[in-house]
Amino acid sequence: MNITEKILARASGKSSLSPDDVVFAKVDKVMVHDVSGPGVLKVFDKLQKQGIDTSKLHDSTKVWIAEDHFVPSAEKISAENIVKLSNFSRQYDIKKHFKYGMGQYGICHTLSHEEALVNPGEVYVGGDSHTNTTGGLGAFACGLGHTDVAYVLLNGEIWFKVPETYYFKLNGKLPPHVMAKDFILKIIGDIGTDGGAYNTMQFGGTGIDEMSVESRLTLTNMTTEAGAKNGIIEADEKTVQYLNERGSNDASVFHGDSDAEYSKVFEYEASELEPTVAKPFSPENITVARELSSTELDKSYIGSCTGAKYEDLLAAAKILKGRKVKIRTEVLPAAISIYKKAVKDGLIGIFLDAGVTVGPPTCGACCGAHMGVLAKDEICVSTTNRNFPGRMGHVESQTYLASPQVAAASAVTGKLTDPRDLN
């Protein structure tokens, strides 16, 4: 069995599994945030009316709560949702509630790794599509809707059809100025926004071995944009060390069998990859950054679970150091822990000196919620994950998805810029 089959087999008490088998898998960790939490409570209301007991969760120690989409509260409805979350964690005695304004908080997918909330080999589900991100730690991580999350909270398990696995092999180390974001955009361009639909996207090869844990998380994060059920990378010593540094006591390496089978294998040479951009209005609409060098921009946005981890900010800061931005530029670190490290290491000073507005951790404008949404006809280069019509604001705004290096270089010139071409 490959790693995804093996994790689902363990979680469902089966000795072996194959694609298309349907299982009820025991869930090790569950996440809700300020959108899915109130959504789950709405489901609980409906269930109570049907006579289903919602007074106790299956295991509240497995649950954690993030506040990320509309925080700091954008207006009164989102403020009320935050109050609902506080009541929720109090009522069900959920200890791991990361509240804004009270120390560590941030985007749910970022907290999953920053706080070592999920270990290799676990089944983790969350009420958000980019839950796939956490598969970069070697877990089965999958996004679900409110009804399914409510079911998991009350029953501790959920059904899955065992996915087929597509294996993406990267040979060699990424060249300078080419980031994991460029690689995943290239893949989505090749297979399309339904190219991984219902399947697992697993990554491996020497290029993945070379990659930092944070870069790997960028890959699994955007498997969602290819429609995948989960993205996964087998943990190695680097993963275990990363989690141990963040307080995990029980992280260990968990692998698929040596005779693991994959339904398709895609092979890429790292040396052939280039800074890559997805044009409006789809993540599959890719081209190399150099082809767009005449594209004038209004804004550069460096944020989200995809593109505001520490290493993303560091990559942007290296480009912005000693330079000034020519267009509106925002940096929103994805968690307070990242923000603190960025302050300590001088990155925030570099951003401010360059003219950047530095905001708090939030999903913010990535999902068109608040904090820098786009007006009609505005054009933005963004380190985020989607650029469908209206994703970041007005339905006639335009978003170019790119790496933090491309977003930073473009901020300096005001046009879409390959960081290799920056003077």
Partner: protein
Amino acid sequence: MIGNVIKYEQDNIDTDVIIPGTYLKIHDYNELATHAMEGIDPDFPSKVKEGDFIVAGKNFGCGSSREHAPIALSTCGIKAVIATSFARIFYRNSVDGAFLLPIEIDDITYQKISNSDQLEVNIEKNEIKNLTKNEVYSMKPFSEIIAKIIAAGGLFKYKK
């Protein structure tokens, strides 16, 4: 199930156009319904009628996990989305929450169905009758687990 077709000749109709992100904070079903399909067809809530079907191309509902998407459509009266394929979270949200039926058809059937056609959908027979054109099409049968959850009336009513 008999209803009329609202057809969008488009692939990849994503959750950002079905219910834009700014409305994710809203959990009142009726209010969500007033914004259904806002990113692609702002007139949708005023023209949709109880029992209507949406017909669209491949990968319907791609994007986010927001259950707001099937909620907004079903609260508007949509009983089924008939498409050549679906994104996985939209698909399972529709079924597990018992909001609407996600029905898969082939490309030829998709071409044959026109906007405003009246259809009769029969999931026991895996059959779609086009009452306007007097044609009969087959739909892709639901997998075993999906059929059972639909028959039960949603995941919470399904007995393993």
